[in-house]
């Protein structure tokens, strides 16, 4: 007759074993797919007219999902710039919005309205530089952000109209749909030539970018 302790220990070992095997199996499966995004999702990755910079003929495209209120996005921003400077003409950066913080969608509207006047990058820089002034306990304060942006060279009347306008709503909705279908659950989230960054970090991003550069140049 089987001993109680044998039964208990045997069961524990078996469960832990199954857990370990399932983990290894799943991770192998994941690395086989190499985080490649499905074709259907790929069409959602890029948005016509989304803010971007870098050479249009660059063969490496980074899509960054960001929230202007996200502190890590702010810290990552100069790093991405540095990488672009390191490989001139080879990298194109497209920014898409993932307003995960409370009220961030309203700040994104400001950014996109500034983008309509060609002022996206200066606006983003102002918001990042003064992030602490317009976010309180991780809640965005769009009124303060708006005041900070008034320092930019904008047609204020048009700006005020655009913020609530159809064009901005459309862009925001497109990005929110992409966030959902591409399963962006944290910011910043990077896709390099359609490949999602597997684990988060400077090194991982640099590696992913350099792999793609080696592939295409």
């Amino acid at each position: 007759m089987m001993n109680k302790k044998t039964l208990f220990i045997g069961f524990t070992v078996m469960l832990v074993g199954i857990f370990a095997i399932a983990t290894v199996f799943y991770q192998n499966l994941q690395s086989l797919n190499q985080s490649a995004v499905s074709n259907e999702q790929l069409t959602q990755l890029l948005r016509q007219g989304a803010p971007s910079k870098g050479d249009d003929n660059a063969k490496v495209t980074i899509v960054e999902f960001l929230d202007p209120a996200c502190e890590t996005c702010k810290v990552f921003f100069p790093f991405v710039n540095k990488l672009m400077a390191k490989y001139p003409g080879k990298i194109k950066l497209m920014v898409r919005y993932a307003p995960l913080h409370k009220n961030s969608d309203k700040v994104v509207r400001l950014l996109e309205a500034a983008h309509l006047q060609g002022q996206f990058w200066p606006a983003l820089e102002v918001l990042f530089a003064k992030q602490q002034e317009w976010t309180l306990h991780h809640v965005s304060q769009p009124q303060i952000a708006k005041q900070l942006l008034s320092a930019l060279n904008l047609d204020q009347e048009m700006f005020a109209k655009d913020v609530l306008g159809q064009k901005v709503s459309q862009a925001l909705n497109d990005d929110l749909a992409a966030v959902k279908s591409l399963q962006v659950r944290a910011t910043p989230e990077f896709f390099v030539n359609g490949r999602k960054m597997q684990t988060f970090g400077y090194q991982q991003l640099q590696q992913l970018i350099e792999q793609e550069i080696a592939k295409h140049y």
Partner: protein, 150 residues
């Protein structure tokens, strides 16, 4: 002599409580697998259900060696709590309880499910079945207790 006997013989009651432990442990490892390995998001209702089930993994073995019947009460209250939350969650996902009633953060809505087997078996439903099974086993173990002591 009788002590030795009760230490080695697997009474039905012992087996039922062992089964409760096994179910709780399988549920714990599964939930950890989905959140830590597959990286599915965990909503707040899921957390409350985890709070009910995780302690059982450690409490039940203490009551199995040697058999301590008082654990039925301790495990019972945790199971009841988990069962109620799971029921709420199932009704929420089914749309029977309106969305506004959910105590969820905006980022991870509880009304969304990420796994669906056979068309009806989503995560909250599995949780409800798990808690139900554990509750039945605990109930039977308790009744057997009164039979055996008679």
């Amino acid at each position: 002599m009788s002590n030795e006997k009760s230490a080695n013989a697997m009474s039905r009651q012992w087996l039922m409580l062992f089964a409760v432990w096994a179910i709780a442990t399988i549920a714990t490892l599964s939930s950890l697998f989905f959140s830590e390995i597959v990286k599915l998001p965990v909503c707040s209702l899921c957390w409350y259900q985890r709070i009910a089930i995780y302690p059982l993994v450690l409490i039940m073995p203490l009551a199995l060696f040697p058999l301590d019947k008082k654990v039925i009460a301790y495990a019972g209250i945790l199971t009841l709590f988990g069962w109620l939350v799971a029921l709420f969650h199932v009704l929420l996902v089914a749309g029977i309880i309106p969305k506004a009633a959910q105590p969820c953060v905006q980022d991870i809505p509880c009304s969304e499910t990420h796994l669906n087997l056979f068309g009806f078996l989503n995560m909250p439903m599995m949780s409800l079945l798990t808690f139900t099974l554990m509750a039945v086993l605990l109930f039977l173990a308790k009744n057997r207790d009164s039979e055996e002591s008679m």
